[in-house]
Symmetry: C2
Subunit: 556 residues, 2 copies
């Protein structure tokens, strides 16, 4: 079997292996949507490729598929009008199991090569993907390009690198030799082979379908499993494009395209997810989404290994700062970016009732809270800038949740309001609501309110702030946390308390770096150590259990 | 903190790291119970240390413990008369959580050093341990010494090495630097720390308490967890000795001894296992034992990561051989060794009804089956040799199961019979029963009949033999398989079919190497790919999920 794809991309693999070891900044996929990098016509070509998909059936040529009736409506207003194949699992899963036969027997290099080639083709399609991500998730074009394209590819490549490392940890053949007596030596020819688990189901999310989906997809694929991609009904197109590219690459390397398939349900149809994940042939489930279904998956798929990223409630602890404006600007951007729809976005800001130290002075709680409000107001004061930060809100239910939050208790310091978009008058855009609550109003803030909702919590002290942030992580889950303090003891105590609660801690972020950002090859996304999920993107545990190592021993 | 234990044993660790990479034969723990290696008085000292334990309370000085009333009776006849601490979990688990605080914050090297020192001390106590293993499991002294001592220590060391590798895969600190614009560089100081899951429960077995127990014990311990050791009520002493040594080493390195505790229940008491494994503080469960409780654990401990080794039904496929006597001698030893009480012992021997090729000739099914019977008869014809192969039967229920099997169907080719032991007249020793069955009598042989019970299955053909062996593995679980064929196609087909069913394959074993043997650092024990268990001793998946990696990011 030819390993030409492997050879072609081996440098990328080596770079990724170095990066996950050193954990420094590295990427092979440029994040600047520039014509100089992607080609002068790339942007226009990507847009026209995207527009060419609209109001058409999306052809994938899968076995056992009919047509769904209706698909996505862009959070920016327009209906995409695409129809997708509707699968019959009893036909599709067996076809995938058949397709797996050749895939699992292939060399590690062959599978790695195919995965790296898929990632490379996806990189070439970054502009088309950006439009698809934008008009399903509601992200701005820039975020859609970066998070949905190169950053998602980074996460996929990271999973391939981890899996490659696991698969190659032991030799494929060895002669085992033991002196069993003065004269006798036993020699065994041992051969090690990889046995994948089976068909994997990827249950995608509506906000970051590629970024959250690629790690599981590529980890399963490269270890020899087939993957059934079940996208969120509101964000099918990005995963359809992904599957389409993978199904083009596989036959070029002499593999059956049914190693990867799309398993969507229509916007108004019954969800196929439960049927898929409980199918006896499905042995791996990767999931990103709400806590309720994540908990259900963890309890109800005994035949499968289940990897989840569920919801979290992320905290900021405000203790003391040098430059208040720099801090509140950073916070304002973090809570406004994509309207709080990132799983890494902060929801709760803990401020002591006695106020905070700013340089040599103390400012009151109210002044500190108002500084956050002002930061958000300033950021969103320019309508053009506002829509380029907020993006659109993916789901109508998020708007309803936000509206409800404003009336459920606490004091609204900043009401939400609709924001107009010049180009997309029907876009679903709303600025964040900021609500002040007392520390004892845990029923309000110690729960996930997904979307542009920020609680400022008045605490007794920074010690209580830390304790409540840690308790929130422990009880509700958390994916990120952010602490501002000029006091080393406070930084150390909060790092200890929050990491103990399973949440990574960022400290004193100002300028162009935000708590929302998680860097592939360096940051572990979701710790697995609190209710926000049971899996980490990406560590050895995320890949090692997707295959088994089987040995044969032949007496020589 | 001093790393003197780490430095002292670093060469052992390096040897283990090399061995798991190369998978060749290696061990630092000598398997020959020789005075030249262990010291001329070691054997006598070990015996007298063991005898000194008898009819005494076993002191461990744990918090929250009273006394149990009764403990083990040796399968060789005598009552050990030891009493053990009976724990109150509501006092013990919090004490362990407290003890974990210092343990989890220690350096990787400090924890690894302590674990290697514990293994080293256990090695020095190998003779005392051998007596303890012999008189709880019923193993012969030689097996008790080797499998219960050095081979078990190999498995423990292997887990430490795998865990060390996982914990050191990323640096502890790194400066992450990204050029975010023409003029701006963001620099983050990142620190990675290990967060263990919590208290681990080790549920031990009655036949190989140390060999099956040490991997989970050391994997949990070295990754920063505390471990509650719940031994089988019939084999407490080996794990009490282990815990005792660990509790002596820990304070020498300034750690709280409650990082490891013994949680036994008395022979006639209520089992404490379910209370332990469902305790909210228990976050890891390692289990070796019967399928029923293993399945229960996998389904009923949602708060914990559960690693199981359950039961399997192991097969031999007899197709064609060069030297029949060499083959049947090997098989006879494999099925007789420790009376079929090894999880790796073969139970079913598949032979085609048309017979098998032997050199250039064909012999009939009946002649082939009788050759196996004769092999067993010859091996056990000398009473002294017989007891040195058979050992004693650990549990009375195994004898009852064996007796029942002889009357449930099929044709008894060789009845079981009691075997007398010169030194231990009350020893529970019985030779194996060999029963001929048809391929369609799956209710008889396609189930685990733990103990000295062998089925010879008459099949249509070798192809059917392979298919039935694979089906047995897939449906009932299997841990080993053995194929005899002089035909390369048959070897390849059986390797493909059996490894696909998740069972490692040995081929054409004759002489002093047996399918029952699993070599640390080389063989993966239990694949996780069939119902025989969900965990492998030892691979990355066995260790990687016992801790989480948490990072902090501080803006520089």
């Amino acid at each position: 079997m030819s390993h030409s794809m492997f050879e072609q991309h081996e440098k990328t693999l080596q770079g990724a292996l170095e990066a996950i070891k050193n954990r420094t900044y590295w990427t092979p996929y440029p994040e600047i949507p520039s014509g100089k990098i992607y080609g002068e016509t790339a942007k226009a070509d990507g847009l026209s490729a995207f527009e060419g998909r609209l109001n058409q059936p999306f052809e994938l040529n899968q076995p056992g598929t009919g047509r769904t009736q209706r698909s996505e409506v862009s959070p920016y207003g327009m209906s995409l009008g695409i129809t997708y194949p509707k699968p019959d699992l009893d036909e599709l899963i067996p076809a995938m199991q058949t397709a797996m036969q050749g895939w699992k027997s292939a060399s590690i290099e062959a599978r790695v090569g195919v995965c790296l080639e898929i990632l490379d083709r996806l990189s070439s399609s970054a502009f088309e993907m950006a439009n698809a991500i934008m008009h399903t998730t509601g992200q701005t074009f820039m975020m859609a390009f970066q998070a949905g394209g190169p950053h998602a590819l980074d996460r996929g490549l990271e999973a391939v690198a981890y899996a490659y490392q696991e698969m190659t940890r032991c030799p494929r053949q060895v002669v085992w030799e033991k002196q069993v007596s003065k004269t006798d030596v036993v020699r065994l020819q041992k051969t090690y082979r990889i046995l994948p688990r089976g068909v994997a189901a990827l249950i995608g999310c509506s906000t970051f379908p590629t970024w959250n989906g690629y790690p599981g997809l590529f980890a399963s694929l490269v270890t020899g499993n087939a993957v059934a991609v079940k996208p969120h009904h509101g964000a099918i197109l990005p995963m359809a494009l992904t599957v389409n590219i993978a199904r083009a690459v596989l036959p070029e390397a002499d593999f059956d395209p049914n190693i990867i398939t799309l398993v969507p349900n229509s916007l108004d149809g019954e969800s196929i997810s439960k049927d898929l994940v409980t199918h006896p042939g499905v042995r791996i489930v990767d999931y990103t989404g709400g806590t309720e279904f994540g908990d259900w998956l963890e309890a109800n798929c005994p035949q499968a290994q289940v990897f989840t990223e569920k919801a979290g409630v992320n905290s900021i602890v405000l203790d003391s700062v040098d430059d208040l404006k720099a801090v509140t600007s950073n916070i304002a951007f973090s809570v406004s970016l994509y309207s709080g729809q990132m799983c890494t976005a902060p929801q709760n800001i803990f401020i002591p009732k006695g106020g905070i130290r700013v340089g040599g002075d103390t400012i009151s709680f109210d002044d500190a809270a108002q500084a956050v409000v002002k930061g958000v107001n300033w950021l969103l004061s320019d309508q053009k800038r506002a829509v380029e930060v907020l993006g659109a809100i993916q789901s109508e239910s998020t708007v309803r949740r936000m509206t409800a939050a404003a009336t459920e208790g606490g004091e609204v310091l900043r009401p939400s309001g609709p924001v107009a978009h010049e180009k997309y008058p029907e876009a679903r855009i709303h600025s964040p609501v900021i609500i002040k609550v007392r520390a004892d109003q845990t029923d309000l803030y110690m729960r996930e309110v997904f979307g542009p909702v920020v609680y400022i919590v008045e605490t007794e002290s920074t010690a209580q702030s830390i304790e409540l942030a840690a308790r929130t992580a422990r009880e509700q889950g958390a994916i990120t946390s952010l602490v501002y303090s000029t006091n080393d003891d406070v930084l150390r105590e909060s790092q200890d308390a929050l990491t103990d609660a399973g949440v990574p801690v960022s400290c004193n972020l100002v300028g162009p770096i935000f708590v929302n950002q998680a860097a592939a090859f360096s940051d572990f996304h979701v710790s697995g150590a609190n209710p926000a999920g049971n899996a980490t993107l990406c560590d050895a545990a995320f890949v090692a259990n997707r295959f088994h190592m089987l040995h044969t021993r032949v007496l020589l």
